[in-house]
Symmetry: C2
Subunit: 354 residues, 2 copies
DNA sequence: CTGTTAGCGCGTTCAA
DNA sequence: TTGAACGCGCTAACAG
């Protein structure tokens, strides 16, 4: 049996309450007494039973997740993961609310953040929009002592506590490396389809991609960036035009969303010969892989990001340390052959995860 | 506040004990009473607080992990993950013991399984060796009502409750597809380095790989399999010989262990021009990637496998259902550019995972 | 068949 | 500065 507070109380010759004060670093204990208790804790190798502690405290963590609305399939998947976490919240002693805001809308995001602060959240997670006012709002949360994490897209200057997402420069390099290897000696330039150069993750991916393309044996030409605003219609139109304008095109790197438009344009033009690399495993990109129109998909595991965000917010709320290495989000590479079966994404209740 | 047993007792007009009997499907309750209680449970939307239940029961799950000893870096990583789980065991109410057995040794494995059964384990996880006697031993565990999972290498005919590992045929196909694309139009045969054709996962990987190679445009020749027994020395010697014998060699698929020997042989021969694909992200394969001697590494996340095994064993022990989709182990693809930083593997204590 | 009661390990009043 | 006593939500004796 593991030692309990009773054991250490007996061993130290004090009462339970005193042990508790020492354990929780509360005042009202003489230095000598404290030392005795700490010695007992050491010698018995005591570890607090967090489940019992939470039970006694009936602690709950009200968390707020602010997620952009709209049709972006990745964001919808992300929200589904948050909902799955809501389903688990009874077991995790969290009370998670989801707030939707228009995408790329800084002022809506700011309002949502301030509302969450006012609502007494003990932790906030946000898909950041890269604007100074947003950073200021995050700063207000920090001033209020509310743990704050950015999700998917970062805003490092904001002083957020943590970023739950991938290294997007490395993601761009990965895309570039795959593009170079898949194309081999095949000549021709590559096109880049982005959502908007105003968001940080897209800029970073482009940077990494361009670096590798420039370094590829001889260097490969990269056409001017097409900005599709993550909108399938616009993206599809841009790609269709590009296919016409550049008959010698060898590949396309789609570093944002709107991929259903990309896939349709490719399909309509019958161009399954291009090397196409896209981001995020969503229904459109999965379909593209299966139909041979997309060659590789780089993915960030939205479920992992959400669960990580929750762990980090709770840890910060309790003043506990975060093991950075353990919260690192990987850049997954999917090709047709290692595509996971559909439906394995959002996790339902997990009764015995205690 | 979530409803508790008290609420449902009051609502149904019975005592706590009766509620508990219904909740745990214990006998000694009239059908009418049971119905009343169940109605209350439904209408109040009661969900049991597993943490509190486990606290009251002071339940512990003694689990046994049987892992092959020896220098295979993947297995050492796997064991490190189990040790990390041991560190968390206080919080997870598990008591995990690790038993080492010689690799590929069926009778040692069988003895270890029988010992675990005798020791009163409530769950057993094993890296299976493919032999009928092993299946029989697993059958004995099943007969004793002890949940059993295979780890990394399966033995489907044994009636084990679950396999915690990847789809190795798909892994072989993935390797084949990458090989074909990386080689492009470059001519030349590819060699295959395996550990032993006696283990199932190696056979399955080979099968998937060969299928894709045969289907590649025109079909690419695959040389006879080199069996390196997962031994770096032997593997290195075989590869060195192969490089001499087949000057036109275009690529190597290493589907087992012993990759430090492979990397050394490649390095000694100065052959960074070959397309080399290996399995499991370990120190040798990581070094190979970084030095440009290996082009891609397919990986199974040992940490995920271990944590999944624990969840499944506990769920089975409690008669709870397992969400298959959620326990699926992915086939990770790593290239130089998306290599995760070192040291992010085994997870230390996670106090608030309750 | 059903109810009462005493914990599980911890946190938190309230007195002393 | 310290301690006794009660409760968190649930289970498990033991009565009735």
């Amino acid at each position: 049996m593991r030692p309990t507070v009773h054991d250490i109380a007996a061993n130290a010759g004090v009462s339970l309450a005193t042990v508790d004060r020492v354990l929780n670093a509360r005042p009202g204990v003489r230095a000598v007494t404290r030392a005795k208790v700490e010695a007992a804790i050491q010698s018995l190798g005591y570890v607090r039973d967090v489940a019992a502690a939470n039970l006694a405290k009936s602690r709950v963590y009200p968390l707020v997740f602010i997620v952009p609305e709209g049709e972006n399939p990745f964001m919808r998947g992300l929200e589904a993961e948050v909902r799955a976490a809501v389903g688990r919240s009874a077991f995790e002693r969290t009370r998670i609310s989801i707030v939707n805001v228009p995408p790329f809308d800084a002022s809506a995001l700011i309002d949502a953040i301030d509302a969450a602060i006012a609502d007494g959240a003990v932790g906030i997670a946000v898909v950041a929009v890269d604007a100074p006012d947003v950073a200021a709002a995050i700063g207000r949360a920090g001033a209020a002592g509310i743990p704050f994490v950015t999700l998917v897209s970062d805003l490092a200057t904001s002083g957020r506590d943590h970023f739950c997402g991938v290294d997007n420069v490395a993601a761009g390099r990965t895309a570039g490396s795959l593009m170079a290897r898949f194309l081999g000696t095949r000549p021709g330039p590559v096109a880049v389809l982005a959502g908007s150069m105003l968001v940080r993750d897209h800029r970073e991916r482009l940077e990494g991609f361009r670096a590798v393309m420039a370094g590829a044996s001889g260097g490969r030409a990269v056409l001017g960036v097409l900005e599709g605003q993550d909108d399938p219609m616009l993206a599809g139109a841009l790609i269709a035009q590009c296919l016409k304008d550049s008959p010698g095109l060898a590949g396309i790197y789609s570093l944002g969303a709107g991929n259903s438009g990309l896939v349709e344009a490719l399909s309509a033009a019958g161009r399954d010969d291009l090397c196409v690399i896209a981001h995020e495993l969503t229904p459109p990109t999965r379909a593209g892989l299966e139909r041979g129109l997309i060659d590789a998909v780089l993915n960030q595991d939205a479920g992992h990001e959400v669960r990580s965000a929750i762990r980090i917010l709770r840890a910060k709320a309790d003043g506990l340390p975060v093991v950075e290495a353990q919260e690192r989000i990987r850049i997954d590479i999917f090709i047709k052959e290692n595509l996971p079966p559909e439906g394995g994404e959002a996790r339902p209740l997990q009764p015995d995860e205690a």
